[in-house]
Subunit: 269 residues, 2 copies
C-alpha cells in the first residue's frame, strides 16, 4: 500500500518503497491546467512572502534533501522564481571546510537560520551529517543516534523561538536517476554537470535509502516533520512543494503591521 499523504507522522518507521516516487495524481487530467495552477501558486507565494517580510514576526526554514539529480536546485528555481530575492536566502551546504570541521556539525547551519520575516532554504543541510557520514562509516550507529537526538533538540529550539521548519525529501526512483544522469551525459549544455563521482554515490543507492529511512524515522517529529515529495515528475514535484509552502504560510495567520497613529494627518513637506 502506497502512502497518500506526503507527511511522515512522528513515530512512523519509514520504508521508502511504500512511497510512490512516481505519483502524478496532483497534476490531474489536464497538464495545461496544472501548469496554470503552478503559475498561480507562484504569485500566491510571492504575496505570502511579502506579508511574512512585512509582518517581520515569523521565520521559515525549508530543508531540502535528496539524491543527486532529484531536483533540489531546480525546485528552488521553479518554486521561488517569482519570490522577491530580498526575502529568500538560499544556502548550499557543500563538504565542510577544515574550519567548519573543527566545530560541531550544527555550527555552520545555525549561522544561516532565517531571521524574522525571512525564508531560508537549506540546499542540503545538517542531515548530511547523518547520511553521507553514516553510509561511508565515518560515524557509527551510536554516534548517529546521538546526532538524531541532537538534531531534534536543535530543531525544537528553533521552533520554540519562532521558526517554522519544513523538511522535504525529494523522492526519485533509481531508474529515474539513471535516465537523468544519461540525459546529463548526452546533452552538450549539461555535460559539465556530469561528474564520475556522482556514479560512485549512485553505486551506494541502497545504503543511502537505508540511511534516509533511518534518519527520517528518527527525526520526523511533531515540531518538524519530514515530507516525502514524489519527484519523478518535475511538475508533480513543483506543485507539491508550492502547495505545501502556501499551506504552511497561510497557517501562520499573518497580518500587515498597523500604520503609525494618525498617519493620514502627517504632512510631507
Amino acid at each position: 500500500m502506497k502512502h497518500t499523504d506526503i507527511r511522515i507522522s512522528p513515530g512512523t518507521r519509514v520504508r521508502l518503497p511504500d512511497w510512490d516516487a512516481d505519483d502524478r495524481s496532483i497534476i490531474g487530467k489536464k497538464k495545461n491546467d496544472a501548469h496554470e495552477r503552478l503559475d498561480e501558486y507562484r504569485v500566491r507565494l510571492e504575496t505570502l512572502q511579502e506579508l511574512l517580510y512585512a509582518e517581520g514576526r515569523n521565520k521559515l526554514l525549508v530543508v531540502l534533501q535528496a539524491m543527486d539529480t532529484a531536483g533540489k536546485d531546480s525546485t528552488i528555481r521553479h518554486v521561488f522564481q517569482q519570490v522577491d530575492p530580498l526575502g529568500v536566502k538560499v544556502t548550499s551546504f557543500k563538504a565542510p571546510t577544515h574550519y567548519e570541521l573543527a566545530r560541531d556539525y550544527l555550527w555552520r547551519v545555525h549561522h544561516h537560520v532565517p531571521g524574522k520575516g525571512e525564508i531560508a532554504i537549506f540546499n542540503r543541510s545538517h542531515y548530511e551529517d547523518v547520511l553521507i557520514t553514516r553510509v561511508n562509516g565515518w560515524i557509527d550507529g551510536a554516534e548517529c543516534k546521538r546526532r538524531y537526538r541532537q538534531i531534534n533538540d536543535f530543531e525544537k529550539m528553533l521552533v520554540e523561538t519562532g521558526t517554522t521548519i519544513l523538511k522535504l525529501y525529494l523522492h526519485i526512483s533509481r531508474d529515474e536517476q539513471k535516465k537523468r544522469l544519461e540525459a546529463r551525459r548526452d546533452t552538450p549544455e549539461k555535460q559539465w554537470k556530469f561528474l564520475p563521482s556522482d556514479l560512485e554515490v549512485r553505486a551506494q543507492w541502497d545504503d543511502y535509502m537505508q540511511a534516509y529511512e533511518a534518519a527520517m524515522s528518527a527525526t520526523s517529529t511533531a515540531h518538524a516533520p519530514w515530507h516525502v515529495i514524489p519527484a519523478n515528475s518535475k511538475l508533480a514535484r513543483n506543485l507539491t512543494v508550492s502547495g505545501l509552502l502556501i499551506e504552511t504560510l497561510e497557517k501562520l495567520d499573518m497580518r500587515y503591521p498597523p500604520p503609525v497613529a494618525g498617519v493620514t494627518d502627517i504632512e510631507v513637506i
Copy 2:
C-alpha cells in the same frame, strides 16, 4: 547641460542637479515595447546568471544606494525577479549592531561579498559610513576623506581578486520623493511602511545630496565607478539597471566549463 551617460568618470566633481532624475529617454516612444524589452532583459539576465554560476570564475557585487522611496527594494524585485535565487544573495545593511560597531565599518560588508559564480547585492552598504555618518556629524571631514581612501583600497582589492563591482545610485528628485511618501501615507496596504523618521531624513535632503556628491566624486574610480540611475520613472530605472547588468556580465566573456574527458562513453549503471 545634463549628462547623457550614466557613468561617473573617475576624477569628475559630481553635481547631482546636472543629472536628470526624470530622464525617460530609455523608454522610447512606445511604453508597451519598453515593457517587453524589460521582460527580454529578465530572461537574458537569468541566462547570464546561470552561466556565471556554471563557470564559477567571476564574482559580481552590486552596490545599491539611494534616498528613501527611490526604489532600492523595488529594483531588486523587478530586475532580479527571474533570476535563480540560488545564485543571488541580497544583504540589507541596517543600522549597525553593537557587535558590528565594535569592529571596523568594512568588517560586516566584507563578510557578505560574493563568492565565485555568485551575485551579491548590497541593499545599502559601506557607503552609509560616509553618508548618514557625515550628514549627522558623527565623523568629521578628515575622517570622511580617510574612509574614501579606505573604501577605494578595499574595493580595489576586491576587483584585483576577481570581483566586478557595479555601484548604483538611484537618483530621484525631492518632488518625486514627496509624491511617493504621500502615496505611501494614503494607500492602506502601504501605510505600515510610512515612518515619521523618514520625514526627518527628508528634512536633511540638501545635506544628503552634498554628502552623495562628495562621496561619489571621491570613490568613482576606474576599477569601481559609480552610475547615476534616473529613477523618477520606475520603468526607466529598471531598464537602465537591467541593461547595465547585462552589458557588464556580457563583457566577462564567460564559457560553460568543459565536460570530463570521454563523458559520452561513461556508462550509467
